[in-house]
Subunit: 775 residues, 2 copies
Amino acid sequence: MKHPITALQFDLHPWQVSTSEWNNDSAMHQETLFAVANGYLGTRGTMEEQHGNNHQSCEGTYLNGVYSREKITYGEVAYGYASHNQKMLQVPNGKVIQLEIDGQRAHIQDAQSSCRTLDLANAVFSRTMHWQSASNKKITLQSDRFASLSRPNLLCIRIQLEAVNFEGKVKLSSLLDADYGFAANPDDPRVGQLNMAESLQLITSEVKDLQASMLHRVRGSSFVVSSAISHTLPDNVKSVTEIHHNQQIGFDYELELKANQPVTLIKYVSYQHSEQDNPATLEQHNKQLLDEASQLGWQPLYQEHQQQVADFWLHSDVEINGDPALQQGIRFNLLHLFMSAGKNGKSNIAAKGLTGHGYDGHYFWDSEVYVVPFLLASNPALARQFLSFRYQTLDAARQRARQMSHKIGALYPWRTIGGEECSAFFPAGTAQYHINSAIAHAIKAYFNATRDWDFMCRQGAEMLFETARLWVEIGHFSARHNGQFCIDMVTGPDEYSALVNNNFYTNAMAREHLQFSVTIAKRMQQDYPEQFGQLCQDISLQPQEWKLWAQAADKMYLAFDDELGINPQDDSFLDREKWDFDNTPAEHYPLLLHYHPLVIYRHQVLKQADVVLAMYMLDDKFSLDLKARNLAYYEPLTTHDSTLSSCIHSIEYAETGDFQLAYQFYHDTVRMDLDNLHGNTEHGVHTACMAGSWMGIVHGFAGVRYRNDELYFAPHLPASWQSYRFNLTYLGRHIQVGVEAEQVSYQLLSGEPLCITHVDAKIELVPHQTITVSL
Amino acid sequence: MKHPITALQFDLHPWQVSTSEWNNDSAMHQETLFAVANGYLGTRGTMEEQHGNNHQSCEGTYLNGVYSREKITYGEVAYGYASHNQKMLQVPNGKVIQLEIDGQRAHIQDAQSSCRTLDLANAVFSRTMHWQSASNKKITLQSDRFASLSRPNLLCIRIQLEAVNFEGKVKLSSLLDADYGFAANPDDPRVGQLNMAESLQLITSEVKDLQASMLHRVRGSSFVVSSAISHTLPDNVKSVTEIHHNQQIGFDYELELKANQPVTLIKYVSYQHSEQDNPATLEQHNKQLLDEASQLGWQPLYQEHQQQVADFWLHSDVEINGDPALQQGIRFNLLHLFMSAGKNGKSNIAAKGLTGHGYDGHYFWDSEVYVVPFLLASNPALARQFLSFRYQTLDAARQRARQMSHKIGALYPWRTIGGEECSAFFPAGTAQYHINSAIAHAIKAYFNATRDWDFMCRQGAEMLFETARLWVEIGHFSARHNGQFCIDMVTGPDEYSALVNNNFYTNAMAREHLQFSVTIAKRMQQDYPEQFGQLCQDISLQPQEWKLWAQAADKMYLAFDDELGINPQDDSFLDREKWDFDNTPAEHYPLLLHYHPLVIYRHQVLKQADVVLAMYMLDDKFSLDLKARNLAYYEPLTTHDSTLSSCIHSIEYAETGDFQLAYQFYHDTVRMDLDNLHGNTEHGVHTACMAGSWMGIVHGFAGVRYRNDELYFAPHLPASWQSYRFNLTYLGRHIQVGVEAEQVSYQLLSGEPLCITHVDAKIELVPHQTITVSL
């Protein structure tokens, strides 16, 4: 609880985030929040008419899974270091529609008033601006924008202009702009660097028939990107002039406005990329898409988009009554997750979604540990797409294991887009072998929630086995630990310790990974002998290997400190000095930006949940007492400098009965980005934390667990709430759970009857029947 | 003993290194060996007439203590990382004298025969080459070259030409060349990168009166460098043409040769640098120096140079009878040490001396741990200069401690030239806090060998105290270790483990450092109260601080493993798996170039002596039995991938009575560079290893130690030797020690009578009397 809660910037509407204030300091933060995306393309909430000079703004339009690639420069290189970085591709900005009256450009910062709203129910960003020129002409601009959830390549923009007190000419300049950039802070390792000119090489551009398009080659990779815009104009356009700047193309439109007669201009922007295709085909697809969009028109396009959003909410909505800030927050978070999540099996979800270039748009374990649980419970098919993405990159993981001098197996990268390890910081990134177990854990969770043997036989088992091999590569049975299986020189989730021996989280997760791999090997051998035989042949898997996995799991060293009655985070954690929190000024957080890593490593201080995360991930391996003792020991040492920390603490406090702390951490989780609690939302939202706001209510307050092959519930209502309600998808069923002060109701909205456990009672859910249980 | 001994490239002459073979593969190795230097300027043994195209060569002329400075780029930066690198300055090459006959350039690679010799007695590099042109003209070229040890700015070159079978014109082009470079291997962290054009910015150049000069500004620093050449010509020069290329200036000389009438051209090259001076003054100094040299002429300049070399050998020579390879090797090594050692208190000795750009010309702890012992025993005034260099950079060390988030004290850099930390690899470089104790150890050794209170009061004590403070900053009394003082997250000398807790070497050296600091504080307080009071005021030192140092030293945690009867290298070393040496192919050494650091860290495998080094440094803190057990445990785990390792092992094997192994390691130490045993002498000699060849005979075979405030000897003659003899300077005495099969003789060549200990007998040495003791 280190971060003060700042004043609210937004009205607390349950289905929208809206503000009528604009100020320079929060401009970039709000650009992040007002981003729209559809899993493939995302664009920040900057203004069509663009910001004025000397005003803060960070333009950005991104394509998920598409990246530039450049060699990493090291001050001092060592064997096996990651060689290249991949950066989420920043594509030409197609949003630009500059507005000019009497030679003066309109900007939000000198508007008389303005209002911006993200409509959470419909995934549309809308704006209104009242502006007056120096020549005293008043105009109202209204715009709507959505990244089509039904057509992933398409961004739709509608601008309405109304002359309030004049008649006459205004100029609109609609551009496709490939010449923008942003100077990031080079000393903050969490911020990605951006240089558009360095990453995009123009091949061709064309301007004609109200359409403009560019074709770029992405430097350092084989990607080719086509970007295009088209327009549907109002009748009163008096002249059209083509614009052919070097990397800026488009049209100037001169409109003749009549007072109080609004006119509407619609702009479609579309992006296509390819690694192989003929660029000509790519451009043709783009043109086709724009032509189709123009023919269909705004309303039908909007309706098919809306339908997708409605489907999403049907299975995902969380209702919180009595806490408007959190009601707004959780819907905002869930919508952004949905908008940022790659849906094509070739992309994933970046730590910052498609809302900013922080962390260079990389995918981390955030996907598997934080986002997959939410997807599993709302859209299991999408969860499978996430796991398929990992399967697509399994070869890269094998290659990475070889680079790291491992003779066998696969090592998934700490951070990547295309599968290649991009982490240049080996004491943390490279040493975080627990990424392998996070992926195995997600495969297990997916399997438990779907029993999808098709996936397991085609992809899951191969990933499980290849990654399991790494534990035996890096661990060993230690004579000096009574023959127990020890894993040395790794970094756990808490990056404020590094290169430690027997990180508790890592060992515990490795055990689960090995055990589940053995389980699957045995069951597959029995039930799918042909596929199993083929897989063993493909990856040269011998029975003695999984016997060794079983032994390693069985003998896994999981430390327990008798004196403190807790699990030590690693072999030497408890020997270290405790961090001097009393003499650490507030402005020295996050510690990583104010202390050398060695100073941090030398102390008992945590960036984020580590043993506490293991308690959440491996739920039933800990008694409630042990959970409470671990929490009581570790939380006071935790800075929560990572946004991945608060939701886990909320869940564990809820489980161990400290609902007041659970609520505080939950509040921080849900309002993280809206209230900019970590002060860096300008670089993008925190998708793991957003997913944490779902976990916090479902796994935290509602106590949902997967235990003994069944769903388990132990709901609790936070004191300040009237009630809450959420949806769960599980083994083909759609369940809705409502929690009130005195009772909880379970409803099977679709699917076959299902047995669940409520605390210690078995309940059978049948369709169209609400079962209510007293709390 | 992992490195095969290659075929000898040189005749085994006791006072010279000479070869009449030239081949492309060993060309760069030999350029290193044939370098000449004088502590300020050094130049590699490349040919005046330069190498032909497609032949390997690494040109290099360096100024000690002068460097370019550039920002370090990190793949992922963190707080407190070293921000800039300093690179030993590569200055314009003034050696160039190209020889051309009938339009054809002469090169060594197409000579009929050639011979190159480094004269160890006189520090001169001489060459003879017989060459025949395509037009069948035979010519003999003879050259001599020395970096004047009496005039540190001056390099002298003499070329003699003799037409063997013709009369007629030849052309000599004598240049000052600022346009040369070398493409190093970017994947080998041990090799420095070089780009001359990036580091030197031409301000002015001038060519007139047989002199040519250039003035450069060094990019990224405030250094200005003046380089100049002048010539003394023979009578038969027919024409002189000035050369004014961009960064290449000089003269074309056309000579008319008569058959068998040798002619001589003398070239002086001089370099000056300044950080403040008026560049004009700098150039004037240079011109003055060249004018003086021309007026004096070759022979007087050579004689004053010779005198310096003779003085050096008088106090430094080591005679080995019966082992020509080692006799040659040790003299070669000692001469290179002398030539590379900075002598002005503002420079030090680079890991590669002034012979190559390996490690960017950085100074490491090699200076204090390896080179200072030799200097102390041969030239204590020079040893003081080395320590003064550290005092000059104490402010930078204080600043570094602040950057590393330490509130107090000074942290010397792992690698530097001007004092700033240049190590970009924090798990090793930055974490090697033992650099502080190495400097304290050298101060202690200097003090023991000189009782120089003047130095101690002016510089030594301040360095000791400021660096001692760091131990209390990073260590702590650990409740979980019975209140013992523990030091976590450091890297010891063995870089094949990193970020460990309680590295034995570090803790043991820290204890000595703290104890000696307390001793000096007490004695200074008593004997030099005024200076002590002033110092305490200057650095705000409180009595409770050195009381804390005494407690920390007293409670220092120094582990001993009861089961193995050895000192564990660190808290977790013995828990690790042993490296699989049997399945490591020879070409996978050094391991650091073939395995990711994490893989190496995860095993019991050493790059170099660690506990074994502590045994050498802290001699009497170990019983002989313990030394033998430590050796027996650690040596089989040691790759000796560092050239710092073999001499220490030789010494410790000698002390524990395994003279066969002692000899093998000693052989590797002495012949390291001559025989290129690590395959990378092309980037420069290994100065620490060279100094190790002195340590190996004096501290190893002769068993010299400083014990109970006295010199202690326990000599032994290796089986294959007839005898050996060495010199020692100690407390103002010059002692010569001769060891034969049956007896050892001690002779006091100058100074007051002195008591020494021979094994267990006290001996009083008096002038002009040889004391002989039976072995």
